[in-house]
């Protein structure tokens, strides 16, 4: 059930990313009529990170850069949580833009007081 929901979420995110890429390639209709069509972008998607983002049995956050945010969109492919001890165990997997590096970044986190384990991974759709 959980895996089904995650799969559906991933498919939705990928579809939105591809839709954005399509719009990027299509451009303005009027401009298209007047000028030669620009070559379509080359799309590729990345493998998962070699090592998961992970935190185990202690609070902390593992942050891993993914791809340059200017020409990609990334999506979670793995959320694995083990050893929940109680309500204080607040875990998360998240993707956001790291303003310092300009890359999408995967963050696996166990909140203060947590003692469980979280593992996350992601892939990215990249256009050039």
């Amino acid at each position: 059930m959980k895996q089904g929901l995650i799969s559906a979420l991933v498919a939705a995110v990928v579809s939105i990313g591809a839709w954005q890429a399509m719009n990027f390639a299509r451009g303005d209709g009027a401009t298209e009529a007047a000028a030669p069509a620009a070559p379509p972008p080359v799309l590729r998607y990345t493998d998962e990170l070699v090592e998961d983002g992970w935190v185990a049995r202690a609070p902390g956050a593992d942050e891993k850069p993914l791809e340059r945010a200017s020409n990609s969109i990334c999506y979670l492919t793995k959320i694995e949580i083990k050893g929940i001890q109680g309500p204080e165990d607040a875990n998360s997997c998240a993707i956001g833009i790291d303003e310092f590096t300009g890359f999408w970044q995967l963050t696996a986190a166990v909140g203060e007081g947590g003692r469980s384990e979280v593992r996350c991974n992601a892939r990215c759709l990249v256009w050039q």
Binding site: Q3, V50, E51, G60, P65
Partner: protein, 192 residues
């Protein structure tokens, strides 16, 4: 035409993604930054931010010299806090604005990450950040020429992760004790 292509790719992507959800594997930092014996580059940088926490410490750096383009933003990642302390590094050794000289590995997938083989803060010594590479360099006879200060935890370390050949060579050099653990600094020859 393009739209049709993209739609078919989306289908492939979605299926691939579903398959990926169930994939699970564990890899070491060598998988991300290359083997312990792989060559390093020299980088100079200024510390912009420090995260001295688990699961591993990290520092945001602005490049100021060396092999990487000046002005680029990179992140140094290293051991968990406890291991850093076993190497002899403390949080107080680093401050925002400090200058670093690094002998470092780059991430194998071109992500803006550095894993330091050795770290020099300001005008301090160049200190080792990876004892297994020290073992490899000691066994191959180049360690002294690198002017790297060995870490606190080199003495007494098991050499297995440095590789079988390295362990064998260290034993031949008289640098392993009866339990097969590293002896460092090297025992001084006894005088008669």
């Amino acid at each position: 035409m393009f739209a049709a292509n993209v739609r078919s790719r989306v289908l492939v992507l979605a299926v691939s993604s579903i398959a990926a959800v169930s994939a699970s594997a564990h890899h070491s930092s060598q998988a991300e930054f290359g083997p312990f014996a792989s060559p390093t580059i020299d980088v100079e940088a200024q510390i912009v931010a420090i995260n001295w926490g688990n699961p591993h410490i990290s520092m945001d750096l602005t490049i100021t010299g060396g092999t990487l383009p000046v002005g680029e933003h990179w992140r140094l990642v290293s051991h968990p806090v406890r291991i850093m302390e076993e190497y002899g590094f403390q949080r107080g050794d680093f401050a925002v604005g400090d200058s670093l000289k690094l002998k470092t590995w780059l991430h194998v997938r071109k992500q803006p990450l550095l894993w330091p083989r050795a770290i020099q803060v300001n005008d301090g010594p160049m200190r080792s950040n990876l004892r297994f590479t020290d073992m490899i360099d000691i066994a191959s006879g180049v360690f002294d020429s690198l002017n790297i200060v060995a870490p606190l935890n080199l003495n007494g370390s098991p050499p297995a992760r440095a590789g079988e050949e390295t362990a064998k060579k260290l034993a031949e050099m008289g640098l392993l004790d009866a339990n097969g653990l590293m002896i460092w600094p090297p025992p001084t020859p006894s005088r008669r």
